[in-house]
Amino acid sequence: MHIVKQLMAIPGVIAAGEFAYRGDRFSYEGALTAEFARMASILCRSNTVNVNMQSEIFDSFAENCGYKPAQGWIVRGAQATVCNIGNYFAFIENRPELLNDVMTIMRAKVGDIGDDLLVNLYARIGGDVKEALY
């Protein structure tokens, strides 16, 4: 089953979706309008770029410290939480054990994010991504 459908089958998951690393596309299911899903995709991609940039800095101070490459992030709100692994995101309610369940599924289904994430994030459509980044 596709990860988004699997996440949406869990009670308490408000919405889930996938964004392209390049930022030009997104898909989603759940209680978001298309415009809000577009905004959510931009927000999630932006935070993903941010934590990846930070992982590069940590790695420059302590190589192989165990953080790089960044896998994702969580924003824990008062009654709702946003989870992001790779290029997948989920908006969930704060219910007992739901965050742990969602994170377990996302990590298992998305798998480990590789070192090429930044290359993909900064890729220009149709461009030479290696040349553009390095």
């Binding site: 927000l43 960044a70 008062a78 009654q79």
Partner: protein, 121 residues
């Protein structure tokens, strides 16, 4: 909740406190881990920045969409390859991914952050 109690969380590699500006004030590191005080200092600064950005996003999201429930933020987590940093206002903990219980960890750092706040008041 203090740093020694945070180190009792399953898989805890390090625990730390920091000022509103991100300066490290205290820390514990599990012997044998790859975490250094320099990494914790950087991490503390990134915690302040990330929580500020997340608060901005939560406030903006609630205002634009009308969806409530994000503010006040309880915390932020950065998930790395081997470990996750779970942080709140003035307190953070690094936990191995294979052992982490995110909900318990967020609750623990919230209690630690509240204790730090009371101590500073």
């Amino acid at each position: 909740m203090n740093l020694d109690q945070l180190m009792d969380l399953p898989g805890a590699l390090a625990a730390f406190t920091y000022t509103d500006k991100g300066d490290l004030t205290d820390h514990r590191v599990r012997e044998g881990s790859e975490i250094t005080p320099e990494v914790l200092d950087l991490l503390a600064h990134s915690c302040v920045a990330n929580i500020a950005i997340a608060t901005l996003e939560a406030r903006g999201w609630e205002a634009l969409t009308g969806q409530k429930g994000f503010e006040p933020l309880q915390g932020f987590s950065m998930i790395g390859l081997e470990w996750s940093a779970v942080v709140t206002g003035r307190c953070g903990v690094i936990v191995k991914n294979r052992d982490v219980n995110y909900e318990n960890t967020f609750s623990a750092i919230e209690a630690c952050g509240a204790a730090q706040h009371q101590g500073a008041a």
